[in-house]
């Protein structure tokens, strides 16, 4: 499989809107969790805030009356608030977009469902041939990661891709291991 195929299969990401009520599509090719409109809003807020602060500074420096200077100080506060709101919205929008994408990734992973709901078994009972195959697998090909306390079926997600050792049930139980609660190799062996 090439990287081009993987990239082409990527779904369109959904990013939170500025108000948090609507969502906007972030292009799949985007390398940042922001839209151009977010960057524009940040730029406008900070430039406006900076202009207000600089203008107020010039205004304060142009007069020697304290009462007039305090009028300019209010402009400074407004400028600083505008800049802060723009920067805060930028960071919060990025955080929200990253969180939404992480949630989408987790939802698209079957392993997440297995890990979150290991005890719920909503599957239909497998055919007799599959049960027999599982029983043979459970008795012959039980796997365990060395140094761990559970043994698993060969296809269990918890040992997939890991370096495992294969032993039968008595061998695992002699080593002090118990059956995995996710793939339940003991039930397959019992069947």
């Amino acid at each position: 499989m090439t990287a081009v195929q993987v990239t082409a299969a990527r779904p369109v990401r959904r990013a939170a809107g500025s108000t948090g009520r609507e969502s906007r599509a972030v292009p799949a090719s985007s390398s940042v969790p922001w839209l151009p409109s977010d960057a524009l809003r940040l730029l406008v807020c900070n430039v406006l805030g900076l202009l207000l602060v600089v203008g107020a500074w010039l205004g304060v420096g142009s007069t020697a009356q304290v009462t007039a200077q305090f009028g300019w100080l209010s402009l400074v506060v407004i400028g600083f608030l505008i800049s802060s709101v723009g920067s805060g919205a930028w960071v919060l929008t990025g955080r929200r977009t990253v969180g939404l994408r992480l949630a989408e990734l987790l939802e698209s992973t079957p392993l997440t469902e297995q890990l979150l709901h290991p005890a719920v078994d909503t599957h239909e009972p497998p055919p007799a041939a599959v049960v027999a195959e599982d029983a043979r697998t459970a008795s012959d090909l039980l796997s365990a990661v060395p140094g761990t306390a559970r043994y698993h079926r060969a296809g269990c997600a918890l040992v997939r891709g890991k370096s495992v050792e294969h032993t039968d049930v008595p061998g695992h139980e002699t080593s002090g291991r118990r059956p995995c609660e996710l793939c339940r190799p003991d039930e397959g062996a019992a069947a």
Binding site: M1, S31, P33, V53, V66, Q69, L73, S87, W90, V91
Partner: protein, 118 residues
């Protein structure tokens, strides 16, 4: 990694550090200006330029630093998504599924069909 490469790769964090350093410097200058004058009308320009200006720069630096962190998280999610899709593609069966019982045996690879079902 040389300094130039580091600056190019981590430009947002470098910008953040520069903004924070400038903000602290401006705050210091403002404090010095205020402390050297006994009149409020002379101190207020330093409060605006040194105090608020320094806080402005500190805020920009913090914002850039958080943006860099979010961009890093976004890149990690990119890699995670690619790895996840690759794993899902690899788990797809690459062998043809066995035909159901009672159906005709599959033709050997390379054989041509001689009849067409209606």
């Amino acid at each position: 990694m040389g300094v130039k490469t580091f600056v190019l790769v981590q430009w947002d964090r470098v910008f953040a550090w520069v903004a924070v350093a400038l903000g602290l410097l401006v705050l210091l200058i403002g404090w010095l200006g205020v402390s050297r004058s006994a009149f409020v009308f002379e101190q207020l320009p330093y409060v605006v330029s040194g105090g608020v200006g320094g806080l402005f720069l500190l805020g920009v630096g913090a914002m850039m630093w958080l943006s860099a962190d979010l961009r890093d998280e976004w890149r990690k999610l990119d890699a995670l998504e690619v790895a996840l899709l690759a794993t899902q593609q690899a788990e797809l069966p690459d062998e043809p599924v066995a035909p159901p019982l009672g159906s005709a045996a599959p033709a050997p690879r390379g054989a041509r069909r001689t009849s067409r079902s209606s």
